[in-house]
């Protein structure tokens, strides 16, 4: 919010420090000053007044009060005196507050015989410096007093108010208003209005209406200085999507006592500048006066919370300067009275903040905490996350962080219809309308982009995905992508990963799509496996369907693994046991089997391993051959079998015996033939 340096200076007899210097003091003890800018003879300070101080510091007076405390200089007293004429204000205007909950106080004054004209230079200048357009002396004074005190006011032309009656009420559906800036608004019951006997003449706390506007011919003015309910104004402002200087201030709450001093200030200025005659009496609807807050402040707690000992005398000065009253004081406790303009102060911690910031946080020396030496707890989510990332990194994968959002088309392409995705109420754009149901869509988009620069791509991401089930399902997934026709390489990655995580009993099952899956599978129907541990499916490994690859305009084949992190974490184990290295020699025998094409390698391997038992250290498939020389529908599988015992050297006779048993067993199968 912009403040005028000259205006702030006008509150003090003493000269203020230079604008930059003042800005520095404010930044260290009050709020940040975003910018200091020279404007003619004046400077503007753009002070970032945060919402808690909106109630008293959206005003030059509020900032001046802070400056007075910080620099320890006195505020000037203003000697404004309204000279009332004999005519009673009440005889000119009637006030009726119908919606009492929305209006905490409503003060009004009537001023006759005003001479509407342009404002004096000193008012115009200040308004201009702060970006407001001067209109006429009455309107300008009203705005001036708002900038000075923080109290929004409004001026009506008395003669334009039907039946000279002001009613504060909620609008009715169907009512409309044209505001001062010639905009039309449709009103409803969410909006509080000031109305006369016929129609709304202002949107309460937000903007005045055209009909009762002050113009050159205006003779009598009704000044309004009210305190509307903050929530009511906020709701109204949201409903018609109109934020104004006034609504902004009301939303933050304003001191109930300010209405009166502000209206008197405005009346005084109108009396002096527009030569108006102020009628007798303040019209004042004020059903419930605020109770002055009292706070018990434990002096030890100040030290305990800030970690610094501030002398009691210093504390007293700070509180008094800020306008607090020390009602009672003992050696350990103050009873502090809070001025009504400090709506933000209600608990001891609020007072401690005031003391701390004025004393200066820079004066707090750092002190390490003292406490029980409790070691930090190990977080296994983090532990396994780190481990997984390291393994994949070692395997040559680069890690991605993608946005958590996808668009409708992306979701649908991967088999998620809009009913299964979580939709945002207020997306940034259509591109980010849904929470990602899978890591795959964004990863593939990134994959595609990277193809411009890289041929071989290996990427992974570990992140949360979101699904609409009965409740919101937030699930952490681990997804990896590799370019090329690389199913078996990727299978090797998954094997290695699971092995390094200490997960055993891993196997790959045929993919059994659910009826919904099968309609729109993202996978190549013949290159997809379910990754299982014992009987539990923990994820998928497969090639992305060529159809999707084509739609995404990706130039190579793409193999993906998609694993459920929570399941990995549950199965993972840090236990690992060393397997002794046999000191006895190993021997390799080869075996080739001709089998029908649909026989799985795993079936053959199982047979070999069952017969060989502990004497087989490893079986290594080194060739798969299908070709013209072979009988129709057959393939040839060739293995190295590595024999080795843990406790002795195997004789070739012993090895031959096992090898023959294996051959026999394989040949027992229908249509299997061991080639000799």
């Amino acid at each position: 919010m912009l403040f005028s340096y000259n205006w702030l200076q006008s509150f003090f007899k003493k000269k203020l420090p230079k604008p930059e210097k003042l800005a520095e003091v404010l930044a260290m003890h009050f709020f940040e000053v975003e910018e200091v800018e020279k404007k003619g003879n004046d400077f503007t300070l753009d002070i970032d007044v945060l919402p808690n101080r909106g109630s008293d510091c959206f005003s030059h007076l509020g900032i001046a009060r802070e400056i007075s405390t910080l620099l320890n200089i006195e505020l000037k007293e203003f000697e404004d005196e309204v000279q009332e004429i004999n005519n009673n204000a009440k005889d000119f205007i009637k006030l009726q507050v119908s919606s009492k909950k929305d209006c905490n106080r409503y003060t009004a004054r009537v001023i006759n015989n005003v001479k509407v004209g342009s404002s004096p230079g000193w008012i115009k200048e200040k308004l201009k410096v702060l970006g407001l357009k001067p209109i006429n002396n009455i309107v300008d004074i009203v705005n001036y007093v708002m900038l000075e005190t923080g109290q929004p006011l409004h001026a009506f032309d008395l003669d334009k108010i039907t039946d000279r009656k002001i009613i504060v009420r909620r609008a009715q559906r169907g009512e409309r208003i044209t505001t001062l800036d010639n905009e039309r608004y449709a009103l409803d019951k969410n909006i509080l209005v000031i109305a006369d006997n016929k129609r709304p003449i202002a949107i309460a706390g937000i903007k005045g209406g055209k009909k009762t506007e002050i113009d050159r011919k205006t003779k009598s003015v009704v000044l309004e200085s009210a305190n509307f309910n903050a929530k009511t104004v906020r709701q109204g402002s949201k409903t018609i999507d109109l934020k104004t200087d006034a609504s902004w201030r009301f939303e933050h709450g304003i001191d109930l006592n300010l209405t009166e001093s502000a209206i008197n200030r405005a009346a005084y200025l109108i009396q002096e500048i527009a030569k108006g005659k102020v009628c007798k009496g303040l019209i004042d609807f004020y059903p419930k006066k605020p109770v002055a807050k009292k706070i018990k402040l434990d002096l030890n707690y100040i030290q305990s919370l800030l970690g610094v000992k501030i002398p009691v005398s210093k504390i007293k000065i700070i509180l008094k300067k800020l306008g607090f009253n020390i009602l009672k004081s003992s050696s350990s406790e103050f009873l502090v009275g809070v001025p009504t303009f400090r709506l933000d102060i209600s608990i001891p911690e609020d007072l401690i903040e005031e003391i701390g910031r004025i004393y200066g946080y820079e004066n707090i020396e750092s002190v390490f905490p003292i406490g029980a030496l409790i070691p930090s707890k190990r977080n296994f989510n983090v532990f396994w996350k780190n481990k997984i990332k390291d393994i994949l990194k070692e395997a040559g994968f680069s890690e991605l962080y993608n946005y958590s959002f996808v668009n409708k088309k992306q979701g649908e392409m991967f088999g998620y219809d809009v009913s299964s995705m979580l939709e945002l109420e207020n997306p940034l754009s259509d591109n980010y309308q849904y929470l990602r149901p899978s890591l795959m869509p964004n990863m593939l988009a990134v994959f595609k982009e990277n193809q411009k620069n890289f041929k071989n791509i290996k990427i992974f991401e570990l992140g949360n995905v979101f699904l609409k089930k009965r409740k919101v399902e937030e699930k952490r997934m681990l997804t990896g992508i590799m370019s090329g026709d690389s199913f078996y390489e990727m299978k090797g990655i998954v094997d290695t990963l699971l092995n390094k995580l200490g997960i055993s009993d891993v196997w790959y099952d045929q993919y059994k799509p659910t009826p919904e899956d099968s309609k729109k599978s993202v996978w190549h129907p013949k290159k997809i496996a379910e990754i299982k541990v014992s009987q539990e499916e923990i994820g998928f490994l497969g090639e992305i369907s060529p159809k999707i690859i084509e739609e995404l305009k990706i130039e190579s084949r793409v193999v993906i693994f998609d694993l459920d992190f929570k399941k990995l974490k549950k199965l993972a184990s840090e236990e690992a046991e060393f397997i002794p290295i046999s000191p006895y020699p190993s021997a390799i025998r080869d075996i080739a089997v001709l089998v029908p094409k649909d026989v799985l390698v795993e079936q053959v391997l199982n047979k070999i391993n069952v017969i060989g038992g502990v004497l087989i250290r490893d079986v290594d498939l080194f060739d798969i051959y299908e070709g013209e020389e072979l009988p129709d529908g057959k393939k040839n599988l060739a293995f190295h079998i590595i024999y080795q015992a843990k406790d002795k050297t195997l004789s070739s006779k012993e090895i031959d015996e096992i090898q023959n048993k294996i051959i026999k067993a394989l040949e027992q199968e229908l249509d299997w033939e061991v080639r000799k």
Binding site: A230, G371, K393
Partner: protein, 340 residues
């Protein structure tokens, strides 16, 4: 019986050995003279027929010659081998300035690396790492944190709402509440995590990014303690003698609230273009936990007090690696990622 002329044999052999050009030639010479069927062997065999005295004399000479020839052949052999090795070396000359063939390495995202480092430093100071959900309720994200409905303060957090009135957490602070509900003080936690803000992106703003929340609650925890812990963190993270300072701010869930500045990592506080000549860089928001937050978590504010803070991880990474655009973290461009 031919005349035995050891002298000329020696001469011939010496000459041939001297002239031999390669290992094979030398081997042939060896065979020619020293093999079982070689000339010298023949000489030795023929000695049997000679009278004893002559036999002894010639035998001795022949044997000496044999040893001698073996020796010079061996010497020549060494020489030839050395020469042929040198030839091979010459042929195998390589240009060592040819660019390297790099191994294919994987890379961890810079945010992962920064996150790990921050976690490590705080863990050494006894802070546990805690996580929480990204989809949150209004209660945990706002109300419990003393940010009431219909309060302008709530506007400070530009929020993404879901159709079902849940929201995407705008900070990691909800985890404070979730953790304190289930764990009794004294406690020290940090909460790294993804958060969301409904705002347009530019070089310094993203709509999803990472925050690291910190919370310490005990009987007597002060702003001075906060200053010490955070200063120590920054010193360890940047490995420089960094100072921090606090300025007043406003966050509804802490009272007093601080804005925390760190002495500029480039000039160490002297003032330079990086810090806009102020000597300070804005780092994060923090403060002393508001009693209402403790109350809303089921703790009695009379018994406990503490500090809380929230810092952006991207900011740390950007400073550490001198990255000038936050959007690079989420683009997935391998030309960026492979640098880490």
């Amino acid at each position: 019986m031919p005349k035995i002329d050891l002298k000329s044999l020696k001469k011939r052999a010496e000459k041939e050995i001297k002239n031999s050009k390669n290992l094979k030639g030398l081997n042939d010479i060896y065979k020619k003279y020293l093999d079982k069927k070689g000339e010298l062997s023949k000489v030795l065999r023929s000695l049997k027929k000679l009278p004893k005295a002559k036999r002894i004399k010639l035998g001795k000479e022949a044997n000496e010659l044999k040893v001698y020839l073996k020796k010079i052949i061996e010497q020549k052999n060494k020489k030839l081998k050395e020469r042929s090795r040198k030839q091979v070396y010459e042929k195998e000359w390589i240009d060592i300035t040819i660019p390297a063939r790099k191994p294919v390495l994987g890379h961890l995202h810079p945010l992962t690396q920064v996150k790990r480092e921050t976690e490590e430093i705080f863990q050494l100071m006894g802070f546990s790492v805690i996580e929480g959900p990204e989809v949150e309720t209004e209660w945990y994200n706002f109300d419990a944190l003393n940010i009431p409905k219909d309060h302008p303060a709530r506007d400070s957090w530009d929020t993404f709402y879901l159709k079902n009135r849940l929201l995407l957490r705008t900070h990691t602070s909800p985890v404070q509440i979730r953790y304190m509900e289930k764990n009794n003080p004294p406690l020290r936690i940090i909460v790294p995590g993804r958060i969301f803000r409904h705002e347009a992106t530019d070089a310094y703003h993203e709509f999803n990014f990472y925050q690291l929340e910190g919370l310490m609650v005990d009987k007597q925890v002060s702003a001075a303690n906060f200053k010490a812990v955070l200063q120590e963190f920054y010193r360890q993270f940047f490995r420089k003698p960094i100072k921090i300072r606090m300025r007043p701010s406003y966050f509804p869930f802490v009272e007093p609230s601080f804005e925390v500045d760190m002495s500029c990592t480039v000039c160490l506080g002297k003032g330079c273009p990086t810090c806009g000549r102020t000597g300070w860089q804005e780092m994060m928001g923090a403060g002393m936990v508001h009693p209402n937050v403790l109350k809303n978590s089921g703790l009695n504010p009379k018994n406990w007090q503490g500090f809380a803070f929230g810092m952006g991880l991207e900011r740390l990474a950007m400073m550490k690696y001198k990255i000038n655009d936050i959007r690079l973290f989420y683009k997935g461009d391998l030309r960026f990622l492979k640098q880490f």
